[in-house]
Amino acid sequence: MTDWDYLNAARNGDEGAWRMLFRRHYAMLVRMTATITGSADTAHDLAQESFVRLLHSPIRHQEGSFKAFLSRIAYNLALKEKRRTAPGLRLEGQELESDGPSPLEESIWSETERAIARAIQSLPVEQRDVFALRFVAGHTYEEIADMTGIPVGTVKSRLFYAVRTCRDELKRQGVFT
């Protein structure tokens, strides 16, 4: 059975099919949206919202990669969330984030991984999004271009600069040699 089959079964009230989809893709969605938004808690909310939206998405979209389709829903929700919580939209008097570890960093156990997460979070937004879609969600360059609406060449160049920046930063900190 394909993921599309499981989705159709879930639409018809099959709880087992629903759980199967959830088990297969939930962690990937959380990691991806956490990388984009920088918050593990928000990522859980977005992943669950993505599944609910998936259930009500039109059936005519059922072609191609299921994972790419689901990721696109989550990616759009993450973008919306980022816009909603953008610093420019903060209420007057609301405190800006401190320099301490972000909620995402705090949830990571290994010190090396924390350093990597910090380097990724410090990337420009457009590079971080491409990074998340490529390395965390595992999409092809073509799928990313389709999801983000930018040319494949731009996707490749953003990823290159994202990885180079992260490597340089981690080398500076002595994490990478």
């Binding site: 879930a10 639409r11 018809n12 009230g13 099959d14 709880e15 629903w18 959830f22 088990r23 939930y26 962690a27 959380v30 990691r31 956490a34 990388t35 593990a40 859980h44 669950q48 599944f51 609910v52 259930l55 995402l104 949830s107 990571i108 156990w109 090396t112 991984e113 990597i116 997460a117 990724i120 990074f131 490529r134 390395f135 965390v136 360059y141 490749k156 160049s157 990823l159 290159f160 990885v163 180079r164 992260c166 490597r167 981690l170 990478f176 040699t177």
Partner: protein, 134 residues
């Protein structure tokens, strides 16, 4: 080919290098141990960048209630199918069998005189004044 710089090796690892350049570089890597070692290091680091993980507990998200079909819907659907089938069958029987029309009309009008169906009359020959057709 000269020894490639780190950026070129990184592009090769990320598969963003042009096909012809990638082919040429691969040929060099096959022959040059130091560049191969540098490439392996970059590849390992890139892999490490993509494996940052934090504990994820998959919650138990129940199927939204709107997609669960209550059994009453199945019962209503079955009843509707049966009703439509009955109406269609009844109508078809009336339209196809003229003699049946007479019999049925008599059955529904017990006071009207009975007509023998051993020699059934075509519908148009039935005296409508005496034997009303439905």
């Amino acid at each position: 080919m000269n020894h490639p710089d780190e950026d070129t090796l990184l592009k090769y690892v990320l598969e963003v290098l042009d096909t012809s350049d990638a082919r040429e570089l691969k040929g060099h890597l096959d022959a040059c141990a130091s560049c191969r070692l540098a490439c392996d290091t970059i590849e390992r680091q890139v892999r490490q960048l993509g494996t940052v993980s934090f504990p994820i507990e998959t919650p138990d998200l129940p199927l939204p209630a709107s997609t669960r079909r209550p059994y009453v819907l199945y019962v209503l659907r079955a009843a509707a199918i049966l009703l439509v089938g009955f109406v269609l069958g009844y109508t078809t029987a009336l339209m196809r069998e003229p003699e049946m029309q007479v019999v049925i009309s008599q059955q529904f009008r017990p006071t009207a005189p009975r007509v023998s169906v051993s020699h059934p009359l075509p519908c148009e020959q039935v005296d409508i004044g005496r034997h009303r057709v439905l």
